[in-house]
């Protein structure tokens, strides 16, 4: 049942992504409507998959790479749908859905067994800390998509090359606004995720902060976005500068999420080590 839901979601995301990319080439309203419908139904199936997995495991399904990548993807699609509704920028999908699809494909590579949690991790903090972290990641992912669009559009306007893609992309103002909105949603979420993580660490591992690689990189990510928000609010960092920072920030965020798991490391956040304790 779970596998069926998972692969149907993957399939729908693949077709939706194809539709959004086709829309980028040929922006016809029926194609756009189809793409939006596909991604929304994919999202519904994906949410069902996550719920069903939660019920089966008895804990929030963010405990190994398969689950985390899938949850990340779910959050990206959810945040994208919300922003697309709000700003009516359908073409944002052409830049965001490929990312959601990639995350799902990556998730499908990893074994989908339900891990046995060590007692220290069986806590409601898992739900709060991890899901908040991923929703904040997702808003930064949407900001990343908008930032890429911004840089492309700004390049066209500065170089005065106003081709077909220029016509299809929205105004700089809208793209910058999406970037800013993502930041004002994502940053508080990331802050709360880090704080709840520290509280949980204290109850589970006995210390609030242990300069674990994941913690260090999260802090670096936090500082980047804090700098961006500060710059925006005080000296008016906007436009190109803000777009570049949103892209750099997202790169570091991806490293925080994946690098800690994929590179050999001593992080307590590594899923192998998180779960390894009980298996051995």
């Amino acid at each position: 049942m779970n596998a069926l839901l998972f692969y149907s979601t993957l399939g729908l995301y693949a077709i939706a992504t194809a539709a959004y990319l086709a829309y980028l080439l040929k922006p016809q309203p029926p194609l756009g409507r189809a793409a939006r419908w596909l991604i929304t139904s994919g999202f519904v199936l994906h949410a069902l998959f996550t719920l069903s997995r939660y019920l089966e495991a008895g804990h929030t399904p963010i405990t190994n790479l398969h689950e985390s990548l899938s949850f990340f993807s779910l959050a990206v699609v959810g945040v994208f749908i919300a922003f697309e509704r709000r700003y009516k920028v359908l073409i944002l999908g052409s830049f965001v859905t490929p990312l959601a699809l990639l995350l799902m494909l990556a998730s499908s590579i990893y074994p989908s067994n339900i891990p046995e949690l060590p007692p220290a991790l069986k806590s409601n903090w898992l739900l709060v800390h991890s899901s908040l972290a991923f929703v904040s990641y997702a808003t930064f992912a949407v900001a990343f998509g908008a930032a890429i669009m911004y840089l492309i559009q700004e390049h066209f306007l500065k170089k005065k090359r106003l081709g077909a893609l220029y016509q299809k992309l929205p105004s700089l103002d809208v793209l910058d606004e999406i970037n800013y909105r993502c930041l004002t949603f994502g940053f508080p979420l990331l802050t709360i995720a880090i704080i709840t993580g520290a509280i949980w660490a204290e109850t589970a591992w006995g210390t609030y902060w242990s300069w674990d690689p994941k913690e260090t990189w999260s802090l670096i990510t936090w500082f980047i976005y804090a700098a961006l928000l500060h710059g925006r609010l005080t000296t008016g960092w906007r436009g190109k500068k803000a777009a570049i920072l949103a892209i750099v920030g997202f790169g570091i965020l991806l490293f925080t999420f994946l690098g800690v798991n994929l590179l050999p490391s001593e992080s307590q956040h590594s899923y192998d080590r998180l779960l390894g304790g009980v298996d051995k």
């Binding site: 077909a164 008016g236 906007r238």
Partner: protein, 434 residues
């Protein structure tokens, strides 16, 4: 029934001819009624804009109808037909349909893709509907033309490109600022181009206008005209940060706005984007201004470059539009030719029935010793003959109604049997809808 078009446009007649044959928009009742009073003109619509005057009409007699329409145009405006004739074009059948679809889709406009023409045809049709000069065929025809124009508009990007310098400037501003309603424009210097562009910006909802000029009185006068406020030329740089869009066209021989000025201004604006449009030759604004972050500078050459790309793109879109029109013509033409099938069949049947009844009554009246069931049997016999004879032509006609040259059959039948058919009423046509 044939659709015919007679008219002239910017392509065939200069403005001094066009203005002579133009119809005044608020006095359409008289010409429309005179039009449909012409012999063998059953329906008529008059489209009159500053770029074209055209009559769309339906008639059975194509050649005669077109001649009468030409004469009508000349007589109504009391111009000798010989003067008018060389400027007139006329189309019928498929060519007429294509012409009107192209006009409505703005493919025949002076500025291809401009959106006004559709509205103008709708208004003209409105008069025709009001004064009842249009009927079933033209109603359907024009509604079809509107839907074709809509399809062209949504499926091609023919209307999306700006092909004048000031339109191009507004389009660029929209790509930078999104919404223009809370933006302020500053006019530096004055000139026809500059004022035209300012008007375009105002039409697109720009909120504030500031005007500066070397002669302050000129600035005051222009500011009044645009509902803005004048700025002293000596310190306009000081006021620059209040403007989002700057339109410059002074007669200065050197740059009056430098990159350093703009860097300072953009800092004061906390990086809120600015759009500089330099339409002066020689230029007013240092091209290095374009390198300042969040600042976009377009000079006259840049804007003309934009216009040229747009034109090229639009030609490609126009080809797409022509293909859409080709498809739609086929559909409409099918409907038009099927329009007369049913009434022709009805008329043919009643003609046969008439003959049968007349002959039968003649026989019955003179046949003294008719057997008791004789009348019944004669009725059956003659009806059977008529039905058998009509069966083949009827079914052939119905079949060709779904395509093929129905009009040939209809015309042949009508002439061979001297049929008089009435155009069916609107409600009877439901089933013929495409």
């Amino acid at each position: 029934m044939n659709i015919v078009v007679v008219g002239l446009s910017h392509k065939t007649a200069s403005v001094d001819i066009r203005e002579k044959v133009a119809f005044a928009p608020n006095h359409m009742e008289k010409p429309l009624q005179e039009l449909v009073a012409l012999p063998d003109i059953t329906e008529g619509v008059i489209v009159s804009t500053c770029n074209r005057v055209e009559i769309y009409a339906t008639t059975h007699d194509v050649a005669g109808g077109m001649a009468r329409l030409k004469r009508f145009l000349a007589d109504y405006h009391t111009i000798p037909l010989e003067t008018l004739e060389p400027h007139l074009y006329s189309h019928y059948g498929e060519a007429a349909i294509r012409h009107v679809f192209r006009v409505a889709s703005s493919l025949d406009s002076m500025v291809v893709g401009e959106p006004q023409i559709l509205g103008q045809i709708k208004t003209s049709y409105g008069y025709a509907a009001e004064f009842r000069s249009s009927g079933i065929i033209l109603n359907r025809f024009l509604h079809k033309a509107f839907s074709v124009a809509k399809r062209v508009r949504t499926e091609t990007r023919i209307a999306s490109s700006a092909v004048s310098v000031s339109f191009a400037a507004v389009e660029l501003a929209k790509k930078i600022f999104g919404d223009l309603t809370d933006k302020t424009v500053m006019l530096v210097g004055a000139g026809e181009m500059c004022e035209l562009a300012a008007k375009h910006f105002l039409n697109n909802g720009v909120r504030g206008v500031m005007v500066t000029n070397r002669t302050y009185e000129r600035a005051v006068r222009l500011a009044e005209e645009f509902g803005g406020r004048p700025v002293n030329f000596d310190d306009f740089i000081e006021q620059l940060h209040k403007a989002d869009i700057i339109l410059s066209s002074t007669g200065a021989t050197h740059f009056i706005i430098g990159a350093r000025d703009v860097e300072e201004v953009i800092r004061r604006r906390r990086q809120k984007p600015m759009f500089f449009i330099d339409i002066a030759v020689p230029r007013d604004i240092d091209p290095k201004v374009n390198d300042v972050q969040n600042v976009y500078l377009y000079d006259m050459d840049d804007l003309q470059g934009v216009v040229a790309t747009n034109l090229e793109q639009r030609n490609k879109e126009a080809e797409k539009a022509e293909r859409i029109i080709d498809q739609e013509i086929g559909q409409f033409f099918k409907w038009l030719s099927s329009l007369e099938v049913t009434p022709t069949i009805v008329a043919l049947r009643s003609r046969f029935e008439e003959v049968r009844r007349a002959e039968l009554e003649k026989t019955l009246a003179t046949w003294k010793e008719l057997p008791p069931d004789g009348q019944k049997r004669l009725e059956a016999l003659t009806s059977a003959i008529v039905n058998k004879l009509l069966h083949n032509p009827t079914s052939t006609l119905k079949r060709t109604g779904q395509g093929g040259r129905t009009d040939l059959y209809v015309d042949a039948l009508r002439q061979l049997f001297e049929l008089e058919t009435e155009v069916p009423q609107e409600e009877e046509l439901g089933e013929l809808e495409e």
